[in-house]
Symmetry: C2
Subunit: 229 residues, 2 copies
Amino acid sequence: MENLTFENHIASVFDEELEEIRSDLMNMGGQVEQQLEDAVRAICDADSQLAEQVIQRDGKVDKMELAIDEACVLVIARRQPAASDLRLVVAVTRAVADLERIGDEAKKIAKHALELTESGPSPMGYTEVRHLAQSVSQILRNSLDAFARFDADAALVTLEQDKQIDMDYKTALRELVTYMMEDPRSIGRVMSIMWVVRSLERIGDHAKNLCEQVVFIVKGKDIRHSDGH
Amino acid sequence: MENLTFENHIASVFDEELEEIRSDLMNMGGQVEQQLEDAVRAICDADSQLAEQVIQRDGKVDKMELAIDEACVLVIARRQPAASDLRLVVAVTRAVADLERIGDEAKKIAKHALELTESGPSPMGYTEVRHLAQSVSQILRNSLDAFARFDADAALVTLEQDKQIDMDYKTALRELVTYMMEDPRSIGRVMSIMWVVRSLERIGDHAKNLCEQVVFIVKGKDIRHSDGH
């Protein structure tokens, strides 16, 4: 350590700070994954206690967002990050916003789980939820992995998977409308499932945004809104 | 101008850049307001041509987001903004993301307008849409005004108005569910209205986020996720 020049020392402190931000982001990602998993389990197992836990824990996710965002602003203010480091910091703040929104959607799912548990058991629409939740969890996992490894190729592959989710989502919606038409008394319950399915689709979109930020970090290219990536 | 010291000159160039970013953001805000207004008009007047225009113009909003974001990153990279200027730049990038999402929701509304126009006229649920759209447009206008004038007090007042929107939204949902139950054949159409109402509520949320960023700029306080503001 004594051999470090002043510049190296500065750089290494800076790298440490960036590394800490990245690792906080990964922690937040893990937390959000857990929230999604528990929210879906709360629906499928009609577990109102678990749903309550998810709702309560959302505050923790929100705090993580604020803390990481503050660390990012501080690191920009105190250091003068070079272009590539600045890209990393900017991408992290965008990713944090997406993770927070995934957490929000998980909380909404948990709230619907509470409603559904109160109105008694009914398996209608649960197959659709379980199926879609599985794909969405997978895409979220892949996006976080790509972020952890700064793997732009993996990110681009994951981006493509979102198309399948959109198709599954549309199929689920059609089936749910059919349930409502066949049994109008079920409309209230099926509407809840409808919102859950919508939340899952939104989570897929946010996972997609994470992938776009990995590409931004690695390739320096902003591919948001570009078709076909 | 000749009397300017070097530092003043630097500062004034920087201010010009910031001013340009701010004015681009305001332009984007105006564009997004127009998109919302036209999307709602397309629904209520069953105007499929207008709906198509909204859908097409969304690409312009997306480009605005990318351009402003790039300008923000450049200004941070090239200058070393002081804390308060950095806050402004950070707030602008967050605001831009919210405006882009408002544009997205307007596009979704326009897509539902197309569906609804195809399936023929039916005034069901339009009162709810018109009512909610009016409040949401107002809150968006107020948020953008608060941003343009960096008026934290106005932003805090506007934040409170979002609560009314949430109540109107829930009332609208309940009424729509009643329509579906009364006439199951209308379920498909009413579902479209349901998504429109949901989009309007989301736009209200994004407008709220804009207000939070005004407070962040002016007071340096991050009030996201804080209850009761």
